[in-house]
């Protein structure tokens, strides 16, 4: 199991350090570890404006997507859980309906709507498109989180003297934070890795996110070691972001609240 999981990561990592001779072997077996490990690829990439630019675009897009989808999704989820109103099922179905279709199907209508709105060829547009994908998930994750928090806590806060809004911000939200962090990680990953929407929405501009850049390089010069290096760099922020947010993901956040 560990082997299956680790093998691709190892191969990617190995390639990223390989010198040209270890990749282009002319028919001989590719060595398990490069003959002369080198950071050449990384040096090249990190000094290339194109790569840095794409990385910054990706980061901006992902963070923006996280912020927007939490702002939209969390209050929606809270309302869906705490207040009962008619048509709730229809509403939730509508909210996730974009996920009924493959991305490649929904991308054209999205671009069509986004173009007159000026959401094409910029970070905001891509982030907005990513929110279309992520908000349903945020709502679902956050609904689960709020459902797991007993309503007693909020009512108790009210009886102790808090208004509804104070009760939400002093009790419910802090208790929900670990679960919402998970949602944030999810959105970040989704946006960071997303290709189709980013590709179409940035098609006629100089901007590109990392997955888009990766594709551009792939179509011209498929160099294994360079590609692997990009892949490694692509994974680093994901790992970092996960570690940062994980601090809030303590298990048993509500333990001891009731009973």
């Amino acid at each position: 199991m560990i082997f299956i999981v680790m093998a691709p990561i190892f191969i990617m990592f190995k390639y990223s350090l390989s010198d040209r001779a270890s990749v282009v072997t002319g028919g001989a077996v590719i060595p398990l570890w490069p003959y002369e490990p080198t950071l050449e690829q990384y040096r090249g990439l990190l000094s290339a404006d194109r790569f840095i630019g794409a990385a910054i675009t990706s980061l901006k897009t992902a963070l923006l997507a996280v912020i927007i989808s939490l702002i939209l999704g969390v209050p929606a989820a809270y309302a869906l859980v705490r207040y009962r109103f008619p048509g709730i099922l229809v509403l939730t179905t509508f909210l996730i309906s974009i996920r009924f279709f493959p991305d490649i199907v929904s991308v054209v209508p999205v671009v069509e709507v986004f173009t007159p709105a000026g959401l094409v060829g910029n970070v905001a547009g891509v982030a907005a498109a990513h929110c279309l994908l992520s908000v349903p998930y945020v709502i679902f994750i956050a609904m689960g989180v709020f459902e797991s928090i007993p309503g007693d806590l909020e009512e108790q806060a009210q009886v102790l003297g808090a208004g509804k809004i104070t009760a939400f911000f002093t009790v419910t939200l802090p208790v929900a934070l670990p679960g919402l962090a998970a949602a944030a990680i999810y959105v970040f990953l989704l946006s960071w890795d997303e290709f189709i929407f980013a590709y179409f929405l940035m098609a006629f501009s100089d901007l590109s996110t990392l997955p888009v850049l990766l594709r551009k390089i792939l179509s011209w010069t498929p160099q294994h070691n360079l590609l692997a290096a990009i892949s490694v760099l692509l994974s680093i922020p994901v790992v970092l972001f996960t570690f940062i947010v994980q601090k809030y993901m303590r298990a048993g956040a509500t333990a001891g609240a009731v009973k």
């Binding site: 009512e155 009886v159 003297g161 808090a162 208790v175 609240a257 009731v258 009973k259």
Partner: protein, 365 residues
């Protein structure tokens, strides 16, 4: 501390009336318990008083002020939930300080009030712990401390002991009684446990299906229940309710239970004379049936069915011509299938109308 008055309060969920015309006054410093089976509407009443539930009809007054439309945070009542509802992301001290901070008390006062209440509830040294690191009993005390630190007008307790184990429950019960004595707070307590209701309260209100069945001091209700529901709800093991018939022979009234004929003493003759020839329900508590030949009245023979020893006494189920009866005795030597003589203490017996279930004497008064 304050007086609470419910005036013809009704609560409906859609067409379902869960609280029916509920009126009750809780006097200043009084400990009143609302007791009834689960789903009888008692928690709803408590939540309406706390402001967590809207009132469909009727009014609730706290200290003479109508509170129907006052939001919970402005009612100056404190409530302890069955689940305790401790804030898991706060320490014990922060939990206790929560209400004080919202009332913008000066920091120094908050600190000293926390210290006081930690001491009062034997929680010293636990101020920095989180709720998850506390035992059930400690959590319960934190919940109480958090409510009482605000010196509320009324303290509402919703089944606060039901999540504790039997031993702890007993200890917290006396603890609650001590706290009530020391702080002289008005307490409104909700439980389905009749023992808690009996042992804690100044007055008990028995509820069933959204209706207040009877209100009174614990012993008053125990000794003269208004109907068969109240009679069987209070007391463990429950009162024996038997189909019977009152008959007049000459100058004496008899209660016929199956083939047994029990004479009523002269002093009750007046009260039940009008029931002569009527079918009734005869109620007798297990502790009012004694074993032996001596005592008031004529012994009847019954067969021992089950013996449940409790240590100091035993619950014994006997069969009296196929009618099952429970009785409590301190005799240690009873064994099943033996035939023993039993005597009913007719002075303590209750008579209920067969149709309505109402106590015949209460109704007459």
């Amino acid at each position: 501390m304050a007086e609470v008055r419910f005036s013809h309060v009704i609560k409906k969920y859609g067409k379902n009336e869960v609280v029916k015309d509920f009126s009750l006054t809780i006097f200043n410093e009084e400990f009143v318990t609302l007791v009834g089976p689960s789903g009888c509407g008692k928690s709803t009443i408590l939540r309406m008083l706390a402001g967590l539930e809207e009132i469909t009809e009727g009014d609730i007054y706290i200290d003479g002020i109508k509170t129907n439309d006052i939001p919970p945070q402005k009612r100056d009542v404190a409530m302890v939930f069955q689940s305790y509802a401790l804030f898991p992301h706060m320490t014990v001290a922060e939990n206790i300080a929560f209400g004080l901070k919202l009332r913008r008390k000066p920091q120094r006062e908050i600190v000293s009030r926390i210290e006081e209440s930690l001491a009062l509830f034997s929680l010293r040294g636990l101020g920095e712990r989180r709720p998850r690191d506390l035992s059930g009993g400690q959590r319960q005390r934190v919940a109480l401390a958090r409510a009482l630190v605000l010196s509320p007008k009324v303290l509402l307790l919703d089944e606060p002991l039901s999540n504790l184990d039997a031993k702890l429950r007993l200890r917290m019960r006396s603890e609650l009684k001590r706290i009530h004595r020391e702080l002289r707070s008005t307490i409104f307590y909700v439980t389905h446990d009749q023992v808690e209701a009996m042992s804690l309260s100044d007055r008990v209100a028995v509820m069933n299906e959204g209706r207040l069945e009877q209100l009174g001091a614990p012993l008053e209700i125990y000794n003269s229940p208004k109907n068969t529901f109240v009679a069987s709800f209070l007391g463990s093991p429950p009162i024996n309710l038997l189909q019977a018939r009152i008959q007049k022979e000459g100058e004496t009234l008899y209660v016929n239970i199956g083939p047994c004929k029990l004479a009523l003493s002269r002093q009750f003759r007046e009260s039940y004379l009008h029931c002569a020839g009527r079918d009734i329900i005869f109620g007798i508590r297990p502790e009012h049936i004694s074993i032996g030949e001596s005592g008031k009245g004529k012994p009847i023979l019954a067969t021992v069915d089950v013996v449940e020893p409790l240590g100091d006494r035993s619950i014994i189920t006997v069969a009296l011509h196929k009618i099952e009866l429970a009785l409590i005795t301190d005799a240690q030597t009873i064994s099943p299938l033996r035939t023993i003589p039993i005597i009913f203490d007719m002075e303590k017996a209750q008579f209920f109308d067969r149709e309505s279930g109402e106590n015949i004497i209460c109704k007459n008064r």
